[in-house]
Amino acid sequence: MWGRYREGHGFSRAVNSKKVGLQPLRSKMGSNIINALFVFMLAAFIGFEVIRHVSPLLHTPLMSLTNALDAIAVVGAIVLVGEHKSTFATLLGFIAIVAATSNVVGGFFITDRMLRMFKTSRPTKPQLTK
């Protein structure tokens, strides 16, 4: 808004509008930080409670599953590549997508393979013969 009163001063306008753009963003960011910290705190507690109840039988599949879920970081990389703000950023983002996607695909795949192997001796449904 500041910039509007300074029509004609191309350069200073650009600089000022940048400042104006940042101003509300910054105050918004203050509350965003707090929100984010609350989300983190709650998620950490949920994580502790949920994972405490995971049977030690399944600790290996648990680790490969959390690893696959953690690869959700791919969303950050996707935006980075899609926005194409600089070649450098796009290149790093590209490698990041490849790395994270391989975790998503490989992680879910191997977790499922492991879990299919866990069978009980108590009669359940008939098992497939190999």
């Binding site: 039988l57 399944l58 680790m63 953690d70 590549v81 926005e83 391989s102 975790n103 879910f108 393979r113």
Partner: protein
């Protein structure tokens, strides 16, 4: 500007909300093998939703490279999902490295896009993201290399190791703090990244194979925390939640592992995995041991009512799990009750033994945790130890001078008869002598685990 995109922005946020809920459900369903596969489905749906939602992001102008990268990543992921079960520890370490790589690269790109206009809070979390991401990347690569035996499994130590590590950590942290206060000093950013990468290597170098379960869990936790930090940078609650879940999961597993090895929690948190010093002097003099053949072992097993098998990393190395399953079948057929005692740190990662035995089709209700089965050993006729050593060492209970004193162990020495399948009398990985082998009720079965178990199975008349 905001009103124009508010619609799709809200839609994306709601998709992320649903995905977060699915991720939590996914982990909740992992609590039991009966529901665990629903958990995978929930996780997969959440992941697909989140990626699809992200593609709606208004800032995306070019889809070509995204699609190529997604396809390429899937192409790498499929073979990584098909590795053998014995290779799961190194695969897991490798995927921690990939996850950390992604986070570090995105963090680096974000820094150079935003610099020098990086607010203090953002610069702090960004530094945390790349420090944790960088050290997890190289640390996990080192761990994977050790597990794959590309790198020597023995711990590599040198004088002043802790000091060098501490110094590197201080340099990384100091540069980060300076950068927070002076965001225009761009040169410090590559220093932070570089030092973190070196720090990761040096952190894992002194760690031996037997400590891997703790290290992998810890790296898992670091990978999660770095992703959460990335969530703070990008203001993405979905990422914060996924990172926090992964971070707490890794932390819980490291706590369980460290307790099972009698290491303090702070010891684990700061990665000070002091390798237990081998008490080399002891046990070298020839003490008498009693040994037995496969035929004798089979006869003793047949006469038993209750047998507990204790598997260890040696079983994985010898790939003996399928022979063990034949032994389980043969004994069960003859009416012998067979159960498996699983120590939390048996193997090279949390739950390693369970996965190997499940792969060999041994029902999971036969796999019993340490705390549950320890009380049963006095009523057990035969405890058969296959490739496990330190986790059965009674010195941990009795010998104050033993480096593993205080570590919770499986009380196999309380069984009526103990049989130990072992290649030779060489001490185990940690170089600690095991008094179990010299007990009056212990029989040593010398040989390769796979061949010896196969021999017992033949004697029992099974496994044609």
């Amino acid at each position: 500007m905001p009103t124009e995109f508010a619609g799709s922005q809200y839609l994306i946020e709601i998709i992320y909300l649903v995905a977060s809920a699915l991720f939590i459900l996914s982990l909740k369903w992992m609590s039991s093998p009966a529901t665990a596969r629903h958990g995978i489905l929930a996780g997969e749906i959440g992941m697909v939703l989140a990626i699809a939602g992200t593609l709606l992001h208004h800032g995306i102008i070019d889809y070509k490279w995204i699609v190529i990268a997604l396809v390429l990543g899937s192409g790498i992921g499929i073979p990584l999902g098909m590795v053998q079960m014995t290779a799961v520890p190194q695969r897991t370490a490798l995927s921690h490295a990939f996850g950390a790589l992604c986070v570090t690269l995105v963090g680096t790109a974000e820094f150079y896009l935003r610099s020098p206009n990086v607010p203090k809070f953002m610069m702090s979390v960004l530094s945390m993201e790349v420090i944790l991401g960088g050290l997890t990347f190289t640390g996990s690569l080192m761990a994977a290399g050790k597990l794959q035996e590309i790198l020597p499994q023995r711990p590599i130590t040198y004088k002043g190791q802790n000091f060098v590590n501490f110094l590197l950590f201080v340099v990384a942290l100091g540069s980060a703090i300076y950068l927070v206060l002076h965001p225009e000093a761009k040169i410090f950013f590559p220093i932070i990244v570089g030092v973190s990468l070196i720090f990761g290597i040096l952190l894992v170098i002194p760690i031996g194979g037997a400590d891997m379960p703790t290290v992998i869990s810890l790296l898992n936790s670091y990978a999660g925390l770095s992703a959460a930090a990335m969530g703070f940078v990008l203001d993405s609650k979905l990422l914060i939640i996924a990172g926090a879940l992964d971070g707490s999961s890794g932390l819980i597993l490291s706590i369980i592992m460290s307790k099972a090895m009698n290491r303090s929690f702070t010891n684990v948190l700061f990665g000070a995995f002091g390798q237990v010093q081998a008490s080399a002097a002891a046990g070298q003099e020839a003490k008498p041991v009693r040994s037995a053949t496969a035929e004798e072992a089979a006869a003793i097993l047949l006469a038993a009512n209750k047998v507990v098998i204790v598997p260890g990393y040696g079983m994985a190395v010898a790939q003996a799990q399928h022979k063990v399953r034949e032994l389980y079948d043969a004994l069960t057929k003859k009416g012998v009750e067979v159960r498996f005692a699983i120590h939390p740190v048996a193997g090279r990662m949390p739950g390693h033994m369970n996965v190997l035995l499940a792969e060999a089709d041994i029902p999971y209700d036969r796999l019993i945790e340490m705390d549950e089965i320890n009380g049963d050993f006095p009523q057990t006729d035969v405890a058969l130890i296959i490739g496990a050593n330190d986790v059965t060492n009674p010195a941990a209970r009795t010998d104050h001078s033993s480096p593993i004193f205080g570590m919770p162990i499986l009380d196999v020495d309380k069984a009526h008869t103990v049989m130990v399948i072992k290649r030779s009398m060489n001490p185990g990985f940690a170089g600690i002598d095991n008094p179990l082998y010299y007990l009056d009720n212990t029989l040593m079965l010398f040989g390769d685990a796979k061949q010896f178990v196969g021999g017992i199975v033949r004697e029992l008349g099974g496994g044609h």
